[in-house]
């Protein structure tokens, strides 16, 4: 083994492809434990009173659709289950369409929810942290109309919304900057509004320090696993839960490859040592 040629990496790609495809076609039904981080997000939504107004910020684009869209759908469903009113905003331009798509999907389960009363889409605003700070002073100044151009005054659910004081919590679904970090810094640390969120798995470790006794963040949904955990808490099986079997198989394969690679390096070192 030590003198053999290195394995062509294309075989690894092929094995991974097969390993991910098969569980998608033939689900294994593997169980996924729910983490404390997901429970904290769930608790925040669950314990917020009925008729509260909340913000979900769609700070991502189709590139991270797989990880963040299932979170968006699960969070909208949970908020509507609790009869909370949702203001959707976007710090990323394509977040507007992502929000529309998520609302349209959940509307199939909640056909009685009405635009302008139970939810609204304020649209995209450039500016990142400055925009979040400005919302703390006046929501109307930042979003004088919704994404279709309907003036602020004509949207019934915004009648009593002036700034963060009328918002129960903010959830940012974030694929980078601007996103969750800016909400922690501006919305929570300046205006003390409760902030939670979901991120792509790549950026999840960077947000973990914000979950502390200062409550800079109320829980966190990390990647596809976080979305699947939230679906499990809601008792639904969505795209995230369906993808977790494939994810688990891929992780096992990668661990096997790492072990094989290390054994190979160990044997190579040993044979070199013996030759000396």
């Amino acid at each position: 083994m030590s003198n053999s040629k290195p394995l062509d990496r294309r075989y690894i790609f092929l094995i991974l492809l097969v390993g991910v495809t098969l569980p998608l076609i033939f689900p294994l039904g593997l169980k996924s434990e729910v983490s404390d981080l997901a429970r904290q997000v769930y608790k925040l939504v669950e314990e917020t009173p009925t008729n509260s107004t909340i913000i979900i910020s769609f700070d991502y684009d189709p590139a991270t659709n797989t990880e963040l869209q299932p979170m968006a759908k699960a969070l909208i469903e949970h908020a509507w289950k609790k009869d909370q009113r949702i203001i959707a905003i976007a710090l990323w331009p394509q977040g507007v369409q992502m929000a529309e798509q998520a609302f349209a999907d959940i509307m199939k389960k909640y056909p009685d929810k009405k635009y302008g009363i139970d939810y609204m889409n304020a649209g995209y605003k450039t500016g990142g942290m400055v925009t979040i700070q400005a919302m703390g002073r006046s929501f109307k100044e930042v979003f004088p109309s919704d994404f279709k151009g309907t003036p602020y005054e004509e949207i019934p659910m915004l009648k009593n919304v002036r700034n963060y004081n009328q918002i129960s919590y903010v959830i940012s679904l974030s694929a980078g900057d601007p996103g969750l970090k800016q909400y922690v810094m501006a919305a929570h640390d300046m205006y003390r509004v409760k902030v939670s969120g979901g991120t792509t798995a790549v950026s999840t470790p960077g947000f973990l320090p914000y979950i502390n006794d200062q409550h800079q963040l109320y829980g966190l949904l990390g990647g596809l696993k976080g979305a699947a955990e939230y679906e499990a808490l809601l008792g639904i099986r969505g795209t995230a839960s369906n993808g977790m079997d494939a994810q688990s198989v891929a992780h096992v394969l990668i661990i096997v490859f790492i072990i094989m690679g290390n054994i190979r390096v160990y044997k190579q070192k040993k044979s070199k040592h013996e030759k000396k």
Binding site: M185, A201, P209, D213, N242, A246
Partner: protein
Amino acid sequence: MSQFMTIFGVWLGAFFTFSIFSFLYKDNPFYKLAEQIFVGLSAGYWFIYTIYSILIPNLFGKLVSDFNGNLILLVPAILGMMMLIRLIPKLEWISRYPIALVVGTSVGISMLRYTESDILTQMTATMINPFGFSSKVEMIGSIILILGTVFCIMYFYFSRKQEGVLGVTSKIGIYFLMISFGASFGYTVMARISLLIGRLQFLLGDWLHIIKP
């Protein structure tokens, strides 16, 4: 017609997915085609989006139809024009002023917020009484949190040679850092596999209808 466009869009998506994945075998014309189209489309998309979603609603639209003597709107308009003067080599220096303003404002805002959120609040969150927790798990967790923070900072203390107590503590700090890098790597792997899962869900669901989309 709309149904045809939807199906056509799905087939187009499948074609480009395969074209991009074909690079895993080796570089080829299909990959190059998909790459070039992606770059061109992105540039065109952002150009139009900037005009219609940022410039027109925030500036041009207001200047033309809703000015009402709102002189403040002229400030970004003039700064924007100063920025564009960069295209004239002789007057390029004028663009430095709006750039300086943007950089200065961004630094000012970020410095304040980062100091509060990433330094002061984080320090406060570390100043906890580990023995004040009711459960042993929380107690051990908070002790690890405090020790990990202190040891990692020790590693980044470069004003003294890292030997003796400082050497031992900074060495432990390295282990804490290594564990955190390992965790980050694990999350990165998870994210990349998620992207593959997303594409396969599209191919098997929306395109081939083998699984439920």
